[in-house]
């Protein structure tokens, strides 16, 4: 057995990492395709405000993060309806509110190191209760996304047509908003509020480079996410790096490699086409 698994905290880190790596792209695929990539940043800053509120008033900080994140997610939906053509305004307004609240509430936190651990996450310092909470909530997210897979696809592709064909769009959007808030708040605790958005967007960006269908985009996103998380945890352990940041950087490296490969393949096929045309 690898020495990395001798430690209880690393075993926990891997279990949590695998669950978080599964749920972030599940939500991320829909968020990216709805062109709401920045929603992750907005909600994670609000979950940070929730953490600060929790620490300041003696409530479980993860619970605080979940509550603040859910309120923020529904507020975004309400504001979006007032600016239907400018969805990003709602995201920016709620993100600023989250940063403002986090700034004010952090002033009431006595132990600033516990608050700082939420900024970049503390996947290796997660308690058994938090581990159980992450597993249960992650399973809820995974099962719901699988059960509503086809309805979420149709709503993301064409909401008006989905409504007309009889899909309960309002109810499913409500559930999805809830899932997004839960995913971001529990991910923020473990990998950090500042990098959770990257975990939602980067694996999807990688998958979009090679996927040939919506189903493939979903599967590849989860595969890239799992690969970067597991390899990131290994590398961070042996190279003594911060796990959250390492995972994000691995995702960025994969994306850059895929972009280069795609560019080279494109150039190669153009060259072949040109040669064929000349020979004709």
């Amino acid at each position: 057995m690898l020495d990395i698994f001798q430690y209880d905290f690393m075993q926990k880190a891997f279990i949590i990492g695998i669950f978080i790596a599964a749920i972030t792209p599940c939500i991320g695929v829909i968020v990216v395709l709805k062109r709401l990539s920045m929603i992750g940043d907005s909600l994670s800053h609000n979950s940070l405000a929730g953490v600060a509120a929790g620490l300041a008033f003696g409530i479980n900080p993860v619970l605080g993060a979940v509550i603040f994140s859910i309120i923020a997610a529904f507020s975004i939906e309400i504001i979006r309806k007032s600016f239907p053509k400018y969805a990003e305004i709602a995201i920016a307004v709620i993100m600023s509110t989250g940063i403002g609240l986090a700034g004010i509430l952090s002033g009431f936190v006595k132990n600033s190191s516990s608050f700082n651990s939420f900024l970049f996450g503390s996947i290796v310092a997660v308690s058994s209760l938090e581990l159980l909470m992450v597993i249960i909530l992650s399973l809820c997210v995974i099962i719901t996304v699988i059960l509503l897979y086809k309805e979420l696809f149709y709503i993301t592709f064409d909401e008006e047509a989905a409504k007309l064909c009889g899909i309960p769009v309002k109810a499913i959007n409500f559930i999805f908003t809830l899932l997004t808030a839960v995913t971001i708040s529990i991910s923020a605790r473990t990998v950090g509020a500042l990098v959770v958005s990257s975990l939602m967007v980067l694996p999807v960006a990688c998958a979009l480079q090679i996927a040939k269908s919506y189903k493939q985009t979903f599967i590849y996103s989860i595969m890239f996410s799992e690969f970067s998380t597991v390899s990131g945890l290994f590398i961070s352990y042996y190279a003594n790096l911060k796990p959250g940041g390492t995972i994000v950087i691995i995702n960025v490296i994969i994306l850059i490699c895929l972009l280069i490969i795609n560019r080279l393949t494109d150039l190669n096929s153009r060259k072949k086409f040109k040669e064929n045309m000349e020979s004709v």
């Binding site: 059960l147 064409d158 047509a161 989905a162």
Partner: protein, 258 residues
């Protein structure tokens, strides 16, 4: 038999009344073309008939039932204006897009089976795209994409097909092929077609009823080639040659079977 009955329909936003006391009916198997200037409420009228918008006053009946209590949306196909401007980089295959309209029928928490895949293939065969089922929709031409959306609307065997400016952004060959397909659906399958368009020449040629919307009200005409040409001249001041024989010959030259 009337499949659509609209009586004294009015609609507007704030103090701007767009549609005023509109009354018309559509019979089974009709091909109704809705024409009129920009802002006259053509797409709005379509959305009212689809319950996407709620009228200020008046009555709409679909398949003999008041729209307020209408539940049989599987009998209604709709190709929206948005179909022309969807996100072409969305990673969805043709079969994923076409099959999406079956989801309500399949039900929550269930997965499509072989029977549903056969229905997707049949709908794609109807529009002549059975070889493109595994392709990404963004990789198809504008005309092919439009046919994918028509296949999606046809998958539930609708009795009425609504189309909102389906010829926008496609070339003339694809446009001709689209009208051929609509004629086939109307004549062979008996589907009632309601189409909003700016394309006066083609719609006057293919539709058997025209409905003109203007700020002052509504003028409609029933099937009669001569009256249709006269009707267009009266509104737009242009002479139309409504010669279907010539049109079919041109399509043959372009390799389109009609």
């Amino acid at each position: 038999m009337n499949v659509i009955d609209v009586k004294n329909l009015s609609f507007g936003y704030m103090d701007n009344l767009i549609l005023k006391n509109i009354t018309f009916s559509v019979e089974k198997g009709d091909f109704l073309g809705i024409i009129g200037p920009n802002g006259s409420g053509k797409s709005t009228l379509l959305k009212l008939m689809l319950k996407i918008l709620t009228p200020l006053s008046g009555e709409i009946k679909l398949l003999g039932e008041d729209i307020k209590s209408f539940k049989d949306w599987g009998s209604i196909g709709y190709v929206s204006q948005k179909a022309n401007s969807f996100n072409t980089s969305f990673p969805a295959t043709v079969e994923e897009v076409v099959g999406a309209n079956l989801f309500a029928k399949i039900g929550l928490f269930k997965i499509p089976d072989k029977n549903h895949h056969d229905m997707i293939l049949k709908a794609l065969q109807l529009v002549g795209l059975e070889d493109c089922s595994k392709k990404l929709i963004g990789n198809l031409s504008g005309g092919q994409q439009q046919r994918v959306f028509i296949a999606r609307a046809l998958i539930n065997n609708p009795k009425i097909l609504f189309l909102d400016e389906p010829t926008v952004g496609i070339d003339s060959k694809s446009e001709s092929a689209l009208y051929c397909l609509l004629a086939k659906l109307q004549k062979e399958l008996g589907i009632t077609i309601i189409m909003v368009t700016h394309d006066i020449q083609d719609i006057a040629l293919h539709a058997n009823k025209l409905l003109y919307l203007s700020e002052s009200g509504i003028i409609s005409y029933t099937q009669n080639e001569n009256i249709k040409a006269e009707f267009i001249k009266q509104i737009y001041g242009i002479d139309l040659k409504l010669d279907c024989h010539n049109c079919k010959n041109n399509l043959k030259k372009e390799g389109i079977k009609c």
